[in-house]
């Protein structure tokens, strides 16, 4: 039987359709989705949609330097004569990559630690995991990430590692809260009595009930991670020029304020649009799943 005819798949597909219907009734989340899709499209196809793809990296054309926005260069050009619109499109790539890589690295360990600590709540396992989590949460994540970046050579990759190192505790804490209340539910007790294995209880009984919260937090966090990433590049501890990173571009442009305002303002707006998109979607999820704790 083809997989889409199986009853299990049918049921999930129906749930998805219902969810999508509810999600699409909320204009705010649809706007968010539009932003995210648009930004992702521009990022993926940057070499094809950018008017001057060669301006993304090391490129100099002083005869066209520091031009205000015009039809030829809608966002103007920077001091090296590079088209800012093209660089913003490539900048989306680095922002999205930052968010995706960090979340991929951070969510699995954070979730597993939270599940384990929550299930064994009150034991030494809980104690150890959650106190370590507290330590990481005791300082603003931006500052710890800055501190880690400062001892490494500044680069996009190291910035991602630094933010990842600081981000898992948020997931551990979220899942801990959920798991420690779910473990007292009857379905978990039933599974225990039936002799289900620990991994089964953790991953097949408790985890599916946390997924909506994790998912919502991930979409909100895409925005936060992008903000932190851009802040790291802004101070010069993240992506290095000539990488077309949005934070780096804002930092470069800030030197030429207020006269050549377009160099900093358009990349800044690009950061805001990206973060806004993920935030709106996250809010849509939160309403959809009726969550409070994320």
């Amino acid at each position: 039987m083809a997989f889409w005819r199986r009853p299990g798949f049918q049921r999930r597909w129906d749930t998805f359709k219902r969810g999508w219907y509810k999600f699409s009734k909320n204009p705010v989340s649809v706007v968010g989705l539009f932003f995210v899709v648009a930004v992702s499209f521009l990022a993926v196809f940057a070499p094809f949609v950018a008017p001057y793809p060669e301006h993304a990296g090391r490129f100099v054309n002083f005869s066209e330097a520091s031009q205000p926005p015009s039809l030829q260069h809608p966002f103007g050009t920077d001091v090296f004569g590079r088209d800012i619109l093209s660089r913003v499109f490539f900048g989306f790539r680095y922002s999205l990559m930052m968010g995706v890589v960090v979340l991929v690295l951070v969510v699995p360990p954070g979730v597993v630690l939270g599940l384990v600590a929550g299930y064994w709540r009150g034991t030494w396992i809980d104690m150890v995991i959650m106190r370590v989590t507290d330590v990481f949460l005791a300082v603003p994540p931006l500052i710890l990430a800055l501190a880690v970046c400062s001892v490494l050579t500044p680069s996009v990759f190291n910035a991602m590692m630094a933010v990842s190192l600081m981000w898992w505790p948020w997931y551990a804490r979220l899942v801990y809260g959920l798991a420690s209340s779910l473990r007292n539910e009857f379905f978990v007790q039933a599974a225990e009595v039936a002799g289900a294995s620990r991994p089964h209880i953790l991953f097949r009984e408790i985890l599916p009930n946390c997924v909506s919260s994790i998912f919502t937090k991930m979409s909100l966090d895409m925005g936060w991670v992008i903000l932190i990433g851009s802040a790291l590049s802004f101070v010069g501890l993240g992506a290095q020029p000539p990488t077309p990173d949005l934070g780096t571009m804002v930092a470069d442009g800030a030197k030429y304020l207020p006269d050549q305002w377009w160099i900093a303002i358009f990349p800044a707006l690009a950061i805001m649009i990206t973060v806004l998109g993920f935030n709106l979607i996250g809010d849509g999820f939160r309403d959809l799943f009726a969550l409070e704790e994320v």
Binding site: R131, V132, D134, V135, F136, A138, V139, P140, P141, L142, I143, L144, L146, A147, V148, C149, S150, V151, L152, G223, L227, S230, A231, F234, V235, G236, L237, V250, A254, L257, P258, W261, A264, I265, A268, I271, M272, V275, L276, N279, L280
Partner: protein, 342 residues
């Protein structure tokens, strides 16, 4: 007694957290590629000088011994010497921390007062144009990095409109009041130097507002949702039914319990103020602790970096205990729960 017990418990936990943080930051600052001594002295320093300094900083000893020296120094209030300014890090911090605390406290007050005010108004008049404008403001506030606000304000109010100064804490013509706390506004107030007080406040408006907006938006959002939820609760209808005046119902029965979630996240928002101060101080050339921290990080000044992170950890822990106290004051369940030894 309940409150005391609560505070005691939090204090014990905080000591553990700070101890863990000290290990974490020590590991970050020591287990790194590159030689801090070489970097501090420069590539042309003779080998014996490098050796001397390494011994002086105990960098030739094993890691656990280094940690022991560092921690026992830190507990005595000696956080080592800055590799660049060649001064005791503690002295540097004493000089720069008040400027940042002044800025962050000012921003925190703006954040809390206006955030709660906006949220309360939006929640009270939910689904009207007031509510919608606050909602749009919240989105803009939440998604804009504070350094972008800082740049925009600098551009608009500093350079174009020239309403506010663009850098520093005081105008060149104003003499700094005698240093008592290090916070210029407070010192000016104590010494009665009102010209300096006004000038200092004037300098603080742009950086503080750019810092505060993000958290303010979040506070407004949370206050709004709790207020509009609580507005529909039966006890409010009951209070109104008893004929209790509208204003009294709003302030005592509606606002007070609705503030609990808002205050709980104030601690987190305060942390992000401290974090974002790192960027905003850079932009407004604010001679504070965060700018010192950023420069230390950019120069790989290890002792200074670890000291900066530890001091922030201490500040953050204190703020969180204060927040817990305020929440306990607002929420009788926590007070009573603490009494029952829960």
């Amino acid at each position: 007694m309940g409150i005391l017990k609560l505070v005691g418990k939090r204090l014990v936990l905080s000591v553990f957290v700070l101890f863990g943080l000290s290990i974490l930051i020590f590991l970050i600052s020591r287990v790194l590629p590159g030689d801090p001594v070489r970097m501090a002295l420069g590539p042309r320093a003779p080998e014996w000088a490098v050796q001397n300094m390494r011994e002086q900083m105990h960098l030739d000893k094993p890691l656990y011994a280094q940690y022991y020296y560092w921690l026992s120094g830190a507990l005595r209030g000696d956080l080592g010497q800055s590799l660049f300014t060649r001064r005791a890090v503690v002295d540097d911090i004493k000089e720069f921390l008040p400027a940042t605390m002044e800025l962050v406290l000012f921003a925190g007050v703006i954040m809390a007062v206006f955030g709660i005010l906006l949220g309360a108004v939006a929640g009270r008049y939910s689904n009207t144009w007031v509510d919608n404008s606050v909602r749009i403001f919240s989105y803009v506030g939440v998604v804009t990095p504070s350094f972008v606000f800082a740049i925009l304000f600098l551009l608009l109010f500093g350079y174009v409109l020239r309403w506010f100064p663009t850098a520093g804490r005081l105008s060149p013509g104003i003499t700094r009041p005698q240093v008592i706390t290090g916070m210029v506004t407070l010192d000016a107030l104590v010494t009665g130097n009102f010209a300096a007080l006004g000038d200092a406040l004037w300098h603080m408006v742009l950086p503080a507002v750019s810092l505060a907006l993000g958290g303010m938006a979040q506070e407004a959002r949370i206050t709004r949702s709790t207020i509009s939820d609580n507005l529909r609760k039966d006890y409010i209808a009951a209070a109104k039914g008893f004929g209790i005046p509208e204003r009294f119902v709003t302030l005592k029965y509606l606002l007070k319990p609705s503030l609990i979630p808002t205050v709980s996240i104030l601690g987190l928002d305060f942390a992000s103020l401290l974090g974002n101060a790192f960027l905003v101080e850079l932009i407004f050339n604010w001679p504070g602790f965060s700018r010192y921290g950023i420069n230390a990080m950019l120069r790989k000044d290890l002792n200074a970096v670890s000291a900066v992170v530890m001091v922030l950890g201490v500040v953050f822990v204190i703020v969180n205990i204060l927040v817990d106290l305020v929440v306990a004051g607002l929420d009788p369940r926590i007070r009573l729960g603490a009494e029952r030894g829960k």
